[in-house]
Symmetry: C2
Subunit: 507 residues, 2 copies
């Protein structure tokens, strides 16, 4: 059986690719959590070296030959020689990363990794000083490399396609633009209704004094209740919260505790745990392979945003957990009743910082970034124009203008990582989340009652069975159809927003 031997060899090559990927993930995790400040330059060298080695393996002629023997091509990525859906998916995913890798020269990969390392520390310093000029020269060099990357990778319609595809496989710029544009009017309508509401929501209790150690304890309590397994994962702290995977049994989350802002760690921790639960829920037979990955970042964000917002900012959820939160923070919260808390954590108001934004305005932050990234890639603007472009887009999308660079163009870490094409996945995540959640509610029937009893294993079990277990066997659009019976449709999200905020704002 020649095919099986090829498939076996391909699996072995894949296994080493995944192990190396996870080793790099540790170097990056450590950089954001425990690494001493002065080690940054050398860490960038270490990561660049390992990314070069990873590139060697992914682009290796041996992998290319195995894929060819299995009949896999860019046009028929699943190949002709596999007999079941997961083998076909394995071949398809490896063709995907192999054909991207062979288009990028190794020297370019190393150069890009090094520039990313340098840009990250420049970004952190610039943000602390709220001075874009400290980051600009690094971003200019990085953007030049990113534009080259799009050229190396190639594209049919738009250079941004080549970048987007890394995070949201098979998604195109045109379709993304259509989806995001379709949100503008309905979001404006919801916002108008909210602004016209007579209900005045007070969220000032969120900025009282919340001891960090107690926040930490409560985050751990919530994550355990969500089913996050601390024998197979951790929750640490970093300036910018994230989730990463160092192995099937090693899922690392981070959050950040602000003494005077309860919501940041609270919803940040739940959000990252949503990612973590996805990463720990792949079927056993996929573990260790490339299929043990979220099928797209949009689907990944659907998991984190669903836990954070559709579950974590719901009234039934807090019906159970709010008394516990009050027990942990009696001084700060004993005078805040459940409904006041529920309304406060759902207050809608245009604000500057994306990751603190409410569910209605969040996607406007994404539209802002998507527009700017397109202009950068289309060379309509250059790095020096960014602060002004940000102000204009912010005025247009959110109706507010940032006071300084820190709350404007410097707020996100992504560009310093060279991650252009990443932001749209957040908006797609919101849409997928609403669509999945609608189906989950229909399937479970008593979801609200279960949440009100603190039974978070009920939604988790549904997610495990319908989404997590599949890993990246099915591409995002196929998974969406399979789970919900429909293509991705923003109407689910708009309908969710209207239903939720109609009650809160009584419109």
């Amino acid at each position: 059986m020649k095919e099986n031997q090829d498939l076996k060899s391909l699996r072995e090559a894949d296994r080493e690719i995944q192990l190396l990927t996870h080793a790099i993930a540790l170097l990056e995790w450590d950089q954001e959590t425990y690494m001493p400040d002065d080690a940054l330059t050398e860490r960038a060298e270490q990561i660049a070296l390992l990314k070069g080695l990873l590139h060697d393996r992914v682009s290796s002629p041996q992998v290319g030959e195995l894929l060819a023997c299995l009949g896999a091509t860019d046009d028929n990525p699943g190949g002709t020689e596999t007999s079941n859906v997961s083998d076909t998916a394995l071949v398809r995913e490896l063709v995907r990363i192999h054909s991207r890798a062979v288009r990028l020269p190794k020297n370019f990969v190393i150069k890009l990794a090094r520039q990313i390392g340098l840009s990250q520390s420049a970004w952190a310093k610039a943000r602390d000083a709220s001075d874009f000029s400290l980051f600009a020269p690094f971003l200019e060099d990085l953007l030049a490399l990113i534009r080259s990357k799009a050229d190396y990778l190639g594209y049919t319609e738009h250079p941004y396609d080549a970048l987007l595809d890394e995070y949201e496989p098979w998604m195109l710029t045109g379709k993304t633009r259509t989806i995001l544009s379709s949100l503008r009017d309905p979001l404006a309508e919801v916002l108008d209704r909210i602004r016209g509401s007579e209900r005045d929501i007070d969220a000032s209790f969120l900025i009282r004094d919340f001891a960090e150690e107690k926040q930490r304890r409560f985050s751990h309590l919530l994550l355990k209740a969500m089913g996050f397994d601390f024998r197979r994962g951790r929750l640490d702290e970093s300036a910018h919260p994230f989730a990463t995977t160092l192995g099937a049994q090693d899922i690392r989350l981070t959050t950040r505790y602000h003494r005077n802002l309860l919501s940041s760690a609270l919803f940040g921790s739940i959000h990252e745990a949503g990612h973590g639960l996805y990463e720990s829920g792949f079927a056993d037979e996929l573990k260790g392979s490339i299929l043990a990955n979220g099928t797209s970042l949009g689907i990944h964000e659907s998991q984190s945003r669903m836990w954070e917002n559709l579950i974590g900012r719901s009234r039934p959820f807090w019906l159970f957990f709010y008394p516990e939160l009050q027990r942990v923070f009696p001084e700060a919260l004993s005078d805040v009743r459940l409904d006041a808390f529920f309304h406060g954590i759902n207050k809608v108001e245009a604000s500057h910082i994306r990751i603190e934004a409410d569910e209605v305005t969040y996607n406007l932050h994404i539209i802002l970034r998507f527009n700017i990234e397109l202009k950068l890639i289309e060379r309509e603007i250059e790095v020096k124009d960014l602060p002004e472009a940000w102000r204009q887009e912010s005025e247009e999308s959110l109706g507010i203008t940032p006071e300084d660079d820190a709350e404007g163009v410097l707020q996100d870490i992504h560009w310093s990582f060279g991650s252009f094409g990443y932001f749209p996945t957040y908006a797609l995540g919101n849409l997928y989340a609403a669509q999945f959640f609608s189906k989950m509610k229909a399937d479970i029937g008593t979801l609200d009652e279960e949440l009100a009893k603190g039974n978070l294993d009920v939604p988790l079990d549904w997610l495990r069975r319908n989404i997590h277990c599949h890993g990246s066997i099915y591409p995002a659009d196929e998974l969406c159809r399979m789970v919900t019976g429909h293509d991705l449709d923003p109407a689910f999200f708009i309908s969710y927003l209207n239903e939720k905020f109609r009650k809160i704002y009584e419109f």
Copy 2:
């Protein structure tokens, strides 16, 4: 200039070898500090893969050819084409690791790395259960690999030479045996004098209640006073304290806080910081190269043991730091006067646990292990005989018999790492430390007065200039002659012990 081009290429190869070595060190550091329990098996796979890649580079024909072009051979490791001492040393060190690596098949290296990964968790479980039988089957497989390793590497006199050489380059088994044997009688004499002394030292105050958080704070205070730079390093916790290097600007130390045993973290932290100061003190021009390594583990231990014992258990040191320690632990220490404290931390008494042993009996623990390792490598005993062999050797060397495996044969982590040949470096470290310290005192003159003022920069500066800056330019024996004017001579250590303990025990 052909030679220079070869040297330049060799430097580049070396740089990648060091970067990869440091990446592996992070995987190992994380495993001991923050990694979730269930991740162990996969971590072993990750480390094995990277060790395989490192082996490829170290043993690569390209490195071999460059070394040959530079005229370097096993017999003339410095080569014929270098014009200064550090280039010659660079070539010599690379010849050393290259010729060791080419003798080991890559499959063997990976197999050994995997077996080490498995053995570590087996050891930890066996130690927790104090049941050697849980560790024995893993150690048997590991020992078989270690014996093969010695055979692959080759040796002239004794297979143990091949193992010892990894940790203490160019040291031979015969010479080690002579040095260790020469300690037996003088140590017995010191012990007899102490046992004959009428002074009864009370060390019971060390097992009072010492809150871990306060111990942590005091360890950090001491390390800062020693000159350890926390912008370029960290102190974390692990079951077995260690120091490791993840880069020139990234030195990681660990310690462990026992609520009811102050001395463990206190001297453990100082000890590891001694290693850390060595690793952070290499001359700038060596940084990033193979010469930015301790020249041998014996010399490395001379640094940690000097800080721990010759400085850290000295009366002048505590003249300055004891009032601070009393301020941190007023309940536990306010009734303990300085001299009682000084005597307590220097109490001599045969005990089971090596890393808690006093300065007089410590080397007896090493002799015990050296004898057992020789017997294992000579196949005079097998793994199954170890608990009994340990009891016999303990009775013979220390005059006491361990109650169980946890305080006997299972106490050290080293064998689970496959580190046979490592233990003698601790004894050599004690001897080097005393010899260096004698010279330091002669050079500085007012060392005791400086210590009593808390001026730890004075000994550090001497160590920086005389030892640290050289990295591994000079082999251990050459460095010793250069610094002290003598070959390694145990008389310095014996004389130090007699002088110190004569005062304490009034003999």
